[in-house]
């Protein structure tokens, strides 16, 4: 067992997968010789050669399109979109091609690709380096969508994604790369080396896609979160003293509805948190499912805490980011409701 940052964990996942399966190839902008702008692929080209880990032209639709063709051939491409904000040129290839090749060909062709993309804000990235476009993927049938919240999960889920027979969007919250950031930007983040989920096995293991994890047991209210917001929710629970049960979804599609329903039926209250914008965000889907399945157990209206319905600002980043103070207010609101 080693201590790893989330960067090292995703790198280890690719390393292990490339070592076990010659069909796994890794490419994207700057990922080859240099090892990626976040260094997630550092050393892979040196270890596996430049035909298995290489630099791509700055052309996201081309990166996706060639990966789809490689998958049709029989490879298992694990590609990087440098920032989730850059994925839009590839959206046609993702939604109309990757997601539907199995269905439209009745399994004659399939598309086992993984699209890794650093996501979310908190690094002063402005409107084009901070976005959380997960709902643009969860709306697309045929995709799987994963957002890990820690190094242990990131590695196990990424290996599972690479081994999955269908296309997986793998959104890595970049603010969590170096530690469990809980929204307290004024304080230095605790490094993953001091966190139990920074303990990551060196070898192969997988975490099943579609299983949520309860990060904090509680009786008073259920907080449903994923990615960076898991740590924000945990901080809010501690700081308010409200006995919240915090669910880390890990996989948005497929969604672990059973874990959500079980928890909300127990607590009778629910807060849904994400960093992405509010309107038509993934939280809307979660709220709808909770009311469909837990309506008679609810004791208060469900509350969402999310990014505002504006582009992600630069200077006002911390007024945009749904930090522990805002989540804490939502917790009090549902407890009073």
């Amino acid at each position: 067992m080693a201590r790893m940052t989330m960067i090292e964990a995703v790198r280890s996942a690719m390393d292990v997968s490339m070592g076990r399966d010659d069909d796994v190839v890794v490419f994207g902008e700057d990922v080859g010789y240099f090892g990626g702008v976040f260094r997630c692929t550092q050393g892979l080209q040196a270890k596996y050669g430049k035909t298995r880990c290489f630099d791509a032209p700055i052309n996201e639709s081309g990166i996706l399109g060639t990966a789809i063709g490689m998958a049709a051939y029989g490879l298992k491409p694990c590609i990087e979109i440098q920032f989730a904000d850059y994925m839009y040129p590839a959206y046609d290839q993702i939604t109309q091609e990757a997601a539907r090749i199995r269905y439209r060909s009745n399994g004659d062709f399939t598309c086992p690709i993984v699209v890794r993309m650093p996501t979310g804000g908190g690094i002063f990235g402005g409107q084009t380096h901070s976005q959380s476009p997960e709902a643009l993927f969860t709306h697309v049938c045929g995709l799987k969508v994963i957002v890990p919240s820690n190094p242990y999960d990131a590695k196990g889920l990424l290996i599972a994604a690479i081994e999955d027979p269908d296309p997986v969007m793998f959104l890595e919250p970049k603010r969590l790369y170096n530690g469990p950031f809980d929204g307290h930007h004024e304080k230095p983040v605790t490094p993953w080396s001091k966190h139990e989920l920074g303990e990551v096995p060196d070898g192969h293991y997988t975490i099943p896609i579609g299983k949520a994890e309860v990060r904090r047991q509680g009786e008073a209210v259920t907080v449903i979160a994923y990615g960076t917001m898991v740590h924000v929710a945990l901080a809010a629970a501690e700081e308010t003293g409200i006995d919240a049960e915090v669910i880390d979804l890990r996989s948005l599609l497929p969604l672990d509805l059973d874990t959500i329903v079980q928890s909300v039926k127990k607590t009778g209250r629910c807060v849904v948190v994400h960093e992405a914008t509010l309107t038509s965000g993934f939280g809307g889907e979660v709220v709808s499912l909770v009311q469909e399945h837990c309506f008679y157990h609810l004791e208060a209206p469900i509350v969402r805490v999310t990014g505002w319905d504006t582009p992600y600002p630069h200077a006002q980043e911390w007024d945009y980011f749904p930090g522990p103070a805002r989540v804490g207010r939502a917790l009090r609101e549902v407890m009073e409701g």
């Binding site: 032209p57 052309n59 789809i68 051939y73 091609e97 062709f109 497929p254």
Partner: protein
């Protein structure tokens, strides 16, 4: 600044509109046999002329002439003729079936049969095409069963795609035919990826990408050329220039570039233009490009100059935007008639045998149609199950789709 003229926007127009006299004087047709055949390892800058000329083998007298001639035996040519005739007969029957309400939609190949039928013969088993909706000759020429194609067109109970796809959006991995999207241009860059994979695995297989003149305007076309050029992918990049993108003449996509083939030159990709209605020329150029790819020399861009004689699809009416007699004025003739003439000149074919072959082929197509219709048509007889809506979205059905299937009553 008062002497600066006001700007005006240039919007290209075709030479002639309905009511006008068809005019193809702007299409310069070199003499058959006049374009040289370079060695396959030639650099693209040494053959720039080939992107602006038209490689032709069959001359007006039906003779095969010049350096691109002589590659096909009598038997191979007879098979080629038969395949084109089969595709034409198949199209005619399916167009009629659509008019009879047996399916929702159809797209024919009339006038373009040589392109896909001849090209298929330049590939070998294991190679992969990433086709558009007008290359069914790739399947016909590879002896894919017509009845399977019809089952797909009818979306009947035997449809290999279980009723999920628009008619003619076939898929056959076994026959080297990638699932047609119905989207435009997306498959072009996928073909490059498939070819890159073959090279990564040190395989011997090559890929072929297909696109129409209109869709070359899509950014995926540009993406494909970037990746193919960068990684020297073993791929043949085909552009079928049939002059019309639904109602839009090819000048709207081509813009100021002299030809579509010329787009390859900026990427350092050898680019050739070929007479798309000349079975022998199409085969010869495809073979040249396939050899380049197979010898790891990289991609080749080929523009097939042809003409879409029919409507874009059964939902289209060309008389609204081009002269009715335009196809008769098309200077490159009809691919079936040209090959027929050549075979007669060669002494291996005759009017009688041609008429007999036509009758035999029609019979074969009708037999296949009867068999397909015994499995149902779009609105009558056997059809795919409603369960098929929900199957195959993922390898394993997730719980939420299972719940929806149950809700639908299946």
């Amino acid at each position: 600044m008062t002497d600066v003229p006001h700007l005006s926007l240039h919007v290209p127009e075709p030479a002639v509109r309905p009511g006008g006299q068809p005019d193809f004087s702007n299409v310069k047709i070199p003499k058959a046999g006049s374009v040289p055949r370079p060695p396959v390892d030639v650099a693209s800058e040494e053959i720039r002329d080939l992107a602006y000329s038209i490689i032709r083998v069959l001359n007006r007298d039906g003779e095969a002439v010049g350096p691109w001639a002589g590659l096909l035996s009598d038997e191979e040519l007879l098979t080629g003729l038969r395949n084109m005739m089969k595709l034409r007969a198949f199209d005619a029957r399916m167009l009629m079936a659509q008019r009879q309400g047996k399916t929702s939609f159809y797209m024919q190949h009339l006038g373009e049969e040589a392109v896909s039928c001849a090209f298929r013969k330049a590939l070998v088993k294991g190679d992969m095409n990433f086709p558009t909706y007008r290359q069914a000759g790739l399947l016909i020429a590879d002896d894919y069963p017509m009845v399977e194609m019809m089952n797909q067109i009818y979306s009947n109970e035997a449809d290999p795609l279980r009723g999920r796809q628009l008619p003619i959006m076939y898929s056959s991995k076994e026959h080297g035919f990638f699932t047609i999207s119905g989207n435009l241009a997306t498959q072009y860059v996928q073909a490059v990826g498939w070819a890159m994979a073959s090279a990564i695995k040190n395989d011997t297989k090559i890929a072929a990408a297909w696109i129409g003149d209109g869709s070359t305007a899509e950014s995926d076309f540009h993406s494909a050329l970037v990746f193919a050029s960068t990684y020297k992918a073993p791929v043949i990049l085909n552009i079928v220039n049939n002059q019309w993108a639904i109602s839009t003449f090819q000048g709207i996509a081509r813009g100021g570039s002299g030809t579509f083939a010329a787009r390859g030159l900026g990427f350092g990709i050898p680019a050739l233009r070929v007479d798309g209605n000349d079975y022998l020329a199409v085969y010869a150029v495809a073979k040249w490009a396939a050899e380049r790819a197979r010898r790891n020399l990289g991609p080749t861009l080929i523009e097939y100059v042809t003409y879409r004689v029919g409507a874009h699809s059964t939902s289209d009416d060309p008389s609204a935007y081009r002269p009715k007699t335009e196809s008769e004025a098309w200077p490159l003739g009809d691919p079936v008639l040209r090959l027929k003439k050549h075979l007669i000149v060669r002494g291996v074919w005759s009017e009688e045998r041609h008429a007999q072959a036509e009758a035999e082929i029609l019979d074969e197509v009708i037999q296949a149609q009867k068999e397909a219709e015994s499995h149902g048509t779009l609105h009558a007889g056997g059809r795919p199950s409603v369960r098929d809506i929900f199957e195959g979205v993922y390898a394993e059905m997730p719980a939420h789709i299972r719940r929806q299937r149950q809700k639908a009553g299946y």
